[in-house]
Amino acid sequence: MDAVHKSSKSRSKNSSHQISNKVRLLIFIVLGFLIYLLSNNVDELRVYQGAQVSFYVIGIASIILLTGYSGQVSLGQGALLGVGGYAAALSHLHWHLPIPLTFVVAILAAAGAGALLGIAAARLSGPYLAGATLALAVGLPSIANQFTILGGEQGLFFDVGFPPESLGADFTQYKWFFWIAALATLIAIFWLQNVMRSRYGRTWKAIRGSEVAAELAGVNIARAKVLAFTLSAGLAGLAGALLAMTIGTVSPSAFPLALSFSLLTGAVLSGVTTLGGVMIGAVTLVALPEIVGTVVNRAGASEAIATNLPHIVMGTLLILTVVFVPNGPVEQMRSRRVKKEKSL
């Protein structure tokens, strides 16, 4: 690990872009406060969408961790969200756990699944891994139809309950969702940033740069990859639990193949290699269907166009992004800045 350590030490001296942890914590607290203020001034729909954006952020971040940082492609993140969602619902229904604990269960269950997947994935690469995770995305949710304990087609309820009375009679259900989701997101992203800056993050970056070089430097590739899968799955599980919270149920149809595709799209739009742009993808995923829908309605177009045009736009956006800006807008700007610095 020496070579990795040496390079990281010299890098932290050079990269004055790296903010200290205490400052970051402060930034996040300020962010949290701003979000709190925002939530008091927008209407119900926006607050609900805010909750959606939140769990998309976590879901996309999980893909960024997996694909951008450790170079493994998973097309089945939606299935892991499902594991988390179901775990939360089950632990709530059968063990009557308080909500925060159900989230913990969701994270742990999904992480466990991720570890298993990671062990299998360490042997696979590129298209094989993509295909295997794709099959997972299609196959896993349908397991719910097999066992009655999983609620079958209709699924199970997941009710996080009403907001506490101390918050006042005006405090709506959706606002409660948003607060929970936003808080979870802030904590999760802060934690994730810490991990990315730790030696685990550097190890993953080394692997992403060159597996051969990393291995020669003493990195245990398999272990690092499995760890990435596990952590990424844990995040996905949290996102799944939050998703379940916002719709109040878990069912196979809540975690379809389209979800995995959406998350992947969001990750590509955000820029797979860095956390910085994660909001771009999340907001696009939530905002785009609505924008397209509004435009279509104003143009008076048919229902068919209204339902399908968002998909066409998203798909086209994905293609364009992956062709022209594959590493995402944030990384693109960064590398342009580096190029300028080099030529000076």
């Binding site: 694909t67 951008g68 940082y69 170079g71 492609v73 097309l75 299998a120 042997r123 696979l124 590129g126 298209p127 094989y128 993509a130 295909g131 295997a132 794709l134 099959a135 997972l136 299609v138 196959g139 349908s142 397991i143 139809n145 097999q146 992403r208 193949l257 595709f261 992947l264 799209t265 590509v268 797979v272 290699t273 068919a304 166009i305 339902t307 399908n308 045009l309 968002p310 998909h311 066409i312 998203m314 798909g315 086209t316 956006l317 994905l318 293609i319 992956v322 062709v323 022209f324 594959p326 590493n327 990384e331």
Partner: protein
């Protein structure tokens, strides 16, 4: 005993269709080193083209040919526009290796939404040209029917045709050379880019047949939401992996194996394992023999 034969026949028939899908995936993989996840979407589009043709012509077989031509053209168009742009822009970075795959996923979404836009989301119907009532032997009725026999015959003929083209003709030689070593092929004067497009066109035509036969194998109804079609994509890919992604023969064997195993699992273990069985089989194959049963170890560089 009878159930055994029935299950086997069901498995071979669906396996033949999976084999076609696997063939179309392998054709693209070998010429471009890309897994085209939009394949099933293209197959579905071709099926709808066939459906549209049936509004003007009464023959399933003519519709099949039209669908094949349509599928070939669409596939060639995709290669010329999307893939060539992708190859030109290929960069380094985390997703460089899988960028083409992600692009095909985006394409799949666009195709599916476009189909729903044009033809609607409800079920459409293509009447199978032959009867699906089983042959009778004595008092027993086999699941095997004229339609199923035709399906197997068509797949067999296509396979023979494809093999002949690829192995025995000049253009097949160009295809193989361009797939194995594009640079050396160029130096020998092979128009590698045109040949690549041809590979995609063949793949599109094969997918079209898979789509139409899939519909004919059932009761004739299909839609964009058809479970059969997402299954077709995955099964095609799994079959291709089982066979090793490198050879056409492997694709066929993979398809048949997948079809037969799945049929037996569904019949003798449980009906609702429809989605999970292929996935488990894939996992097993990837664990036991990641390069597939006919593939070479270590893969190749282009």
């Amino acid at each position: 005993m009878f159930q055994l034969i029935n299950t086997l026949l069901i498995g071979i028939t669906s396996g033949a269709i999976y084999a076609l899908m696997a063939l179309s995936i392998v054709l693209v993989w070998r010429s471009t080193r890309v897994i085209n996840f939009a394949q099933a979407g293209q197959a579905l589009t071709s099926t709808f083209i066939g459906f549209q043709t049936l509004k003007y012509v009464d023959s399933f077989w003519i519709a099949l040919v039209v669908a094949m031509i349509g599928g070939a053209l669409i596939s060639a168009l995709i290669e010329i526009t999307l893939m060539r742009v992708l190859l030109k822009h290929s960069t380094s970075g985390a997703i460089a290796g899988v960028a083409p795959i992600i692009a095909t996923l985006g394409l799949l979404e666009v195709i599916q939404a476009s189909i729903t836009l044009i033809w609607g989301g409800a079920d459409s119907l293509i009447t199978p040209p032959l009867s699906n009532t089983g042959f009778t032997i004595g008092t027993n009725t086999l699941v095997f029917s004229p339609m199923k026999l035709a399906i197997i015959a068509i797949v067999a003929v296509l396979l023979i045709l494809l093999t002949l083209i690829v192995q025995k003709t000049s253009i097949g030689l160009s295809l193989r050379a361009a797939a194995f070593s594009p640079e050396l092929a160029r130096l020998a004067g092979v128009r590698v880019d045109a040949v690549r497009t041809l590979g995609w066109a063949l793949s599109g035509a094969t997918g079209a047949v898979a789509g139409l036969l899939l519909v004919a194998n059932g009761n004739g109804s299909f839609s964009t939401a058809s479970i059969e079609f997402s299954l077709l994509l995955i099964s095609g890919f799994i079959a291709a992996v089982i066979g090793g992604l490198e050879s056409l023969l492997g694709a066929v064997i993979g398809g048949l194996a997948l079809g037969i195993i799945t049929a037996f699992v569904l019949m003798y273990i449980s009906d609702s394992l429809f989605f999970i069985a292929p996935f488990v089989i894939l996992l097993l194959v990837l664990f036991i023999r990641p390069q597939g049963f006919l593939g070479k170890k270590g893969g190749r560089r282009a």
